[in-house]
Amino acid sequence: MADTVLEVRNLKVAFPCPGGVIRAVEGIDLDIHRGECAALVGESGCGKSVSALAIMKLLNTPPAVCRVDKLWLDDLDLTHLPDRQMERIRGKHMAMIFQDAMTALNPVMTVGKQIDEIYLRHSRLSRREARQRTIEALELVEVPEARSRANSYPHQLSGGMRQRVLIALAFACVPKLIIADEPTTALDVTIQAQVLDVLKNMQRVHRVSALLITHDLSVVANMADTVYVMYAGKIVERAAMQEIFLEPLHPYTHGLLASVPRISDERQPFVQIPDAVPHPMRKPTGCYFHPRCPRSNDPCRQRMPRLEGPDDGRAVRCWHPLRQPHEVRS
């Protein structure tokens, strides 16, 4: 039995609004083992980022309403942990890397100071020692001339450097879990590859578990060990990384993979899943995917299928999966 670093059971997040309730996350379960990188994949608005913030307990309540049956980080039970104590966990045992490093860094504070803060908060270091650690942290994420760059303001750094600063920030205290929310979306492709390398390297070296949130399947192929596919607030498929690419079970996953353009088929038009993600306040009855699904029939319109499959292996939430999970060798 591999030891589990993050265990989430039945996480729900809702936002009450004037016109009704937005159910952003509808009971998701996650298990991430030590050193493992799990990817949470889905289109914009499917509840990926909200799930991440909810796990970090960073959502403002109100307006958000969060419920979770079980939230364990390694040997720490965070399920009902009050804010005060959560502050001691965040940054030290679980950290987050944000999408847009330009806005995620305080513009009027040098990047060095922003990293110092985390050492000063979580370990008994003097300012000078904290700065020394900061410089080491920046060197680890391959920021050149770390000592002088530490005195730069975010706007004086390039996008790739800023993202490295965020990675250094997240790994500063070598947490048990890193949540990376679209860490490379704001970067151009070449820088993206470099930053992913840094991230992967850091994760391997420190044996830190990671939850990677992305809509970019190439990032998944690059980084992830396990993949959770999310659609309209629910997990629709869970699989190991190779499996999901070789043999997707859910029609949605299949559609996602089919819509990735390939250089080899130049002449083919782009494939896409018809229509768009349902409005979060007007989700369809039955399976949320049925209006866009080529395989849907009556039961799909009436009842939401369950996520079926062995506890720790492949699972799919579909009445008509491409194949049954137990038929697939894993």
């Binding site: 940054g91 987050m96 860094l105 305080n106 908060r121 004086q156």
Partner: protein, 332 residues
């Protein structure tokens, strides 16, 4: 480069000051055709020749006997010696002396007002933002609606009437001997502040609410910024997040507003000073205006403009320290 920015701002301020002083000099000269006639209107029993002599004498005395351009040059020369000219009051006091005499009294009011408004505004604004949508926030919103609807002189009159006459908490009207008797003793200082209490209250109310509003909106805007989430994700306690990340950034728009208000600081509140008969710059300007004391009016105007320009310059330079992004447009 920072130095080029500083030099650029200083040159700009000097240029603006020059434009202001030129306008300030020429505008009164458009209105008054013959100042001598204004100062000494024709009186009965005076022959035309006698009157012409008097007028000529007056022109020479006040320097109107030469062309406007020559007057302008003289005026500039005077300015270089920090001489704003001579008032038309009896005794011909220097304009600078009159201003120097009144300025401290106005500063008593305006500096206290600024300090009170700023601290109270910051506090209330932050609380309202933190308790967004709850009663503290609603209270601020309603208070600001009311304060916008109430003119400051009305508030001054009400305070004077209720706190001054009815409850006799503070002098409803400034003690006329306050200025003459002032000798830096503790009693004198206490007297100044009891007399100043109501004017300061009347002036602070608008300021408190104005700064609260700016602070509230700015804090709310900053609270939604990603870097505040980052700060929380680092595990910083709420108070640290608020103080180091939210307020630090929320202060930027506030600094602009303070800079603009400081310019008006020494002008004195003409209406409030009048209501409480406070002998400050506002009353001085009003006196100059009603006696058509042009040199004094011009002197006050120029002094106020110079101060406003200086205040804006200081704010702009301070911004370089407050917000490192300001020089981003320059080559590094």
């Amino acid at each position: 480069m920072k130095r080029s920015y500083v030099i650029q701002r200083i040159l700009y301020a000097v240029f603006i000051f020059f434009v202001v002083l030129t306008l300030n000099f020429f505008i009164p000269r458009i209105g008054v055709h013959d100042p001598a006639e204004r100062y000494y209107p024709p009186q009965g029993g005076m022959s035309t020749i006698e009157y012409e002599i008097i007028k000529q004498f007056t022109r020479e005395q006040y320097g109107f006997d030469v062309s406007a351009f020559q007057q302008y040059v003289r005026y500039l020369q005077g300015l270089l010696r920090l001489d704003l000219g001579t008032s038309l009051r009896s005794g011909s006091p220097k304009v600078t002396a009159l201003i120097a005499q009144r300025l401290p009294w106005t500063l008593v009011l305006s500096v206290s007002t600024l300090v009170i408004s700023l601290f109270a505004g910051l506090l209330f604004g932050t609380v309202a933002a933190w308790k967004r949508g709850r009663w503290q926030d609603t209270l601020l919103l309603n208070a600001s609606t009311v304060s916008v609807a109430l003119p400051s002189f009305f508030i001054a009159l009400m305070l004077s009437f209720y706190l001054g006459f009815r409850l006799e908490l503070f002098p409803a009207y400034t003690n006329p001997n306050m200025v003459a008797q002032f000798d830096w003793s503790w009693d004198a200082i206490r007297m100044v502040f009891t007399n100043a209490a109501l004017p300061i209250m009347s002036m602070s109310l608008g300021g408190i609410i104005g700064y609260s509003q700016i602070t509230r909106n700015s804090v709310i805007a900053v609270t939604n910024e990603d870097y505040v989430v980052t700060a929380r994700a680092k595990g910083l306690p709420q108070a640290t997040v608020l103080y180091k990340h939210v307020l630090r950034n929320a202060l930027l728009p506030l600094a602009t507003s303070i800079g603009m208000n400081i310019g008006g600081l020494i002008g004195g509140a003409i209406i409030i000073e009048q209501v409480f008969n406070w002998q400050g710059m506002g009353t001085l300007f009003l006196e100059a205006n009603s006696t058509k004391d042009y040199p004094l009016m011009m002197g006050i105007m120029l002094f106020l403009s110079a101060f406003a320009i200086l205040a804006n310059l200081v704010t702009e330079l301070l911004y370089v320290i407050l917000d490192p992004r300001v020089t981003v447009g320059d080559k590094r």
